[in-house]
């Protein structure tokens, strides 16, 4: 087995939690926490990870952790940041707010935006499995185009979600914060580096983490890593950093694989016809072209 040097072998998101087999999000949790270490306080939005990790009186969390509601992880974190500051205890503590795509892209978007604007020093992590998985796979603003969900089914007339993904990382970057990055749980050293960079930022920072959901995506439970890699190789989920307003790729994909290779491993896309597969290919190409067009440029004003 290849040794991954520099990874923390201590666990802060313990095993024994109740996540489904093959959950990409649980994998993300584990490695985020390995990178963050013990001097970390976590707030987490309502969602799969909150439910599977804290069935009272059990907890998978080996750091201080608080959950309040679905849309307020960033707001609770604002209170923690201010409270520690008021007591002169802010130094040396990592603050991480975590929400799924429903909590981050949709219902908690206002609270996230407010916390970013106020310049709290914290890292927001959006774990994106592209639907409301905890409530049974309903469409979110982050659902991939044409994906079938329980509220955007691949129907006889309408074939899945008809809209693009909300470009949350760019909206977040437009708040003028210094560090935004995308990451998958397939590249652990990249993940570790980005979590550390985010936590070292002197104001707010943001990570967008790609999380495979075998139950919601109708894919095999041993495909989380394979799909994470394919998402990057097909340019479906480009890996980049926006540092000081400048975008740079952390893994450039010169010769992308066709998106069909990615789509055909997932039941949520099985209703698609050739025309729709082509539309997705065009969509992915256009998004990547946009990233190329701003690569290396100061695309976002930095306010903090």
């Amino acid at each position: 087995m290849k040794e991954l040097k520099g990874l923390n072998y201590e666990e802060f998101f313990a095993s024994g939690h109740r996540a489904c087999a093959g959950c990409g999000e649980a994998l993300a949790m584990r490695h985020i926490m390995k990178a963050a270490g013990p001097n970390t306080i976590v707030t987490q939005a309502t969602g799969c990870m909150e439910v599977v990790s804290t069935p009272y009186p059990q907890s998978a969390w080996r750091v201080p952790w608080v959950h309040g509601a679905f849309e307020n992880a960033a707001a609770i974190m604002s209170g923690i940041d201010a409270s520690l500051k008021a007591q002169g205890k802010r130094e040396g503590v990592n603050l991480i707010a975590i929400g799924g795509d429903g909590a981050s892209f949709d219902i908690g978007f206002g609270a996230l935006s407010g916390a970013l604007e106020r310049g709290h020093k914290f890292t927001y992590i959006a774990t994106d499995n592209e639907a409301y998985m905890n409530t049974g796979v309903q469409r979110s603003g982050a659902t991939f185009p044409f994906a079938s969900t329980t509220t955007s089914p691949g129907g006889k007339k309408i074939h899945g979600k008809q809209e693009p993904k909300k470009p949350l990382p760019f909206i977040v970057a437009a708040h003028g914060i210094k560090y935004v990055a995308s990451v998958t749980p397939a590249n652990l050293l990249d993940l570790k580096k980005k979590v550390e960079k985010a936590l070292a930022t002197d104001h707010a920072s943001f990570l967008h983490i790609y999380c495979v959901c075998p139950v919601g995506w109708h894919c095999k439970s041993d495909t989380a890593i394979e799909l994470s890699k394919l998402a990057v190789q097909t340019r479906v989920f480009p890996l980049y950093e926006i540092e000081e307003g400048v975008l740079k790729f952390t893994q450039k994909v010169e010769k992308p694989k066709p998106v069909l290779e990615y789509l055909e491993l997932q039941g949520r896309f099985k209703h698609l016809n050739e025309d729709e597969v082509q539309k997705i290919q065009d969509y992915v190409n256009a998004r990547y072209d946009f990233l190329l067009s701003i690569e290396g440029k100061k695309a976002f004003d930095v306010l903090f």
């Binding site: 013990p38 001097n39 970390t40 306080i41 707030t43 909150e50 439910v51 804290t54 069935p55 009272y56 009186p57 059990q58 907890s59 969390w61 080996r62 750091v63 201080p64 952790w65 608080v66 959950h67 309040g68 509601a69 849309e71 307020n72 960033a74 707001a75 609770i76 974190m77 604002s78 209170g79 923690i80 940041d81 201010a82 409270s83 520690l84 500051k85 008021a86 007591q87 205890k89 503590v93 206002g110 609270a111 935006s113 407010g114 916390a115 604007e117 106020r118």
Partner: protein, 378 residues
């Protein structure tokens, strides 16, 4: 120190005197003067605290969760629709047993949108696990904010507490206030300590999922703490009186001309001033009338009320809120607990409608004749 100040400033000074450290605040009429004054103190360096300029009341209430769990005495204020936007977080704060304190400058809720006073914001949240104290004067505002922390943080209680003051008819009124000294307040209200908190040296999990096998026990604990709060509120009122010379009845209800009263009006907040004025006038004409001011709506002080009403021939309850499809909530609860007294219920002062001396006189007249002539004081 005596000074003439607005009730909202009295609230803000109560917060400052309580050495509050975190204030997540979002402005809404008529509670706005409270965050404005607190901002003055913080931005002028007179108050050592963090103001969080949250983007909504929902986030104000949410930030209280984090601020308190991270170890700071915290405060917010709101009204009306802002209160309603917080609604989801109210039972989360109480369920997590966090001693938050909030001032509610009572205002009705839309629609139609209306900025004036009634109690429909806080009364609608009567089941959300917060202690609710209703005040009548600027003096009571500063005194009660300090008491609220004393009550909420008591280990027998550990429940969030809201102090409700009538929007405009109290929040914007200037009165003479005798301000307590900081040293005496510090002695009455020691610095904030919370046993279960977010601490990297002793990691704990807050806000886990509770399954059906534990949920009811946790709710019963909250109810038991509400019952404990009855004595704790009384004690806070008594101890405060000892130190500062100000008290409000037994802390739960305040009685006016009730010793030999045959008929009485029960109400909350500023209506009581009008009711007391009319009762005084009727007393001079030989009528045996009095006023009961309900200060604590949650917990509901059944024993104090039973004692106060046991010799009455008739009691009228003036609700500044109606549970549409049923009755005024205070009337409903009094009627179920004080069944031996003849009780009339009136809906009064909705959306800022004045409650006049004539209204009060007509209610006393109804009581005397034993026949309720109307339900709505229009």
């Amino acid at each position: 120190m005596k000074t003439v100040i607005e009730a909202s400033e009295a609230v803000a000074l109560g917060v400052k005197l309580s050495r509050v450290k975190v204030c997540p605040m979002y402005p809404i009429t008529p509670s706005t003067h409270i965050p404005e004054r607190i901002s003055d103190y913080i931005f002028d360096g007179e108050m050592d605290a963090q103001m969080i300029h949250v983007e909504s009341e929902h986030s104000a209430a949410s930030a209280l969760i984090g601020a308190i769990l991270a170890g700071s005495r915290s405060f917010t204020a709101t009204s009306s629709n802002g209160f309603e936007l917080m609604y989801e977080i109210l039972p989360i704060l109480s369920g997590m047993r966090l001693p938050a304190v909030m001032a509610v400058a009572n205002r009705t809720v839309a629609a139609p949108i209306n900025i004036w006073n009634d109690h429909s914001d806080s009364m609608s949240a009567r089941d959300q696990g917060w202690i609710q104290l209703y005040v009548e004067s600027s003096q009571e505002c500063v005194d009660t904010i300090i008491q609220c922390y004393k009550i909420a943080e008591d280990k027998k209680v550990l429940l969030p507490t809201m102090m409700c003051l009538d929007g405009f008819s109290l929040s914007h009124v200037y009165e003479n206030v005798d301000l307590p000294g900081q040293k005496k307040v510090d002695a009455f209200l020691p610095s904030f300590k919370i046993e279960d908190k977010l601490d990297v040296k002793n990691p704990k999990t807050f806000g886990p999922i509770g399954f059906p096998d534990t949920f009811m026990e946790l709710k019963k604990q909250q109810q038991d703490s509400m019952s404990n709060a009855l004595e704790v509120i009384k004690k806070a009122n008594k101890d405060y009186a000892k130190e500062f010379g100000k008290s409000y009845g037994d802390g739960l209800i305040e009685l006016f001309e009730m010793d030999d009263a045959e008929y009485a009006i029960l109400a909350l907040g500023t209506i009581c001033g009008t009711a007391k004025a009319k009762a005084r006038e009727l007393r001079s004409k030989g009528k045996k009338v009095g006023v009961i001011r309900l200060r604590s709506f949650r917990p509901f002080p059944v024993e104090s009320l039973k004692k106060a009403t046991k010799n009455l021939k008739g009691l009228a309850v003036l609700d500044r809120h109606i549970s549409l499809g049923a009755k005024g909530p205070v009337f409903t609860e009094i009627n179920s607990d004080i069944s031996e007294t003849n009780v009339f219920g009136y809906i009064a002062g909705l959306g800022g409608r004045d409650v006049t001396l004539e209204h009060i006189e007509s209610v006393f007249k109804d009581l005397e004749t034993g026949k309720q002539s109307k339900e709505w004081l229009l």
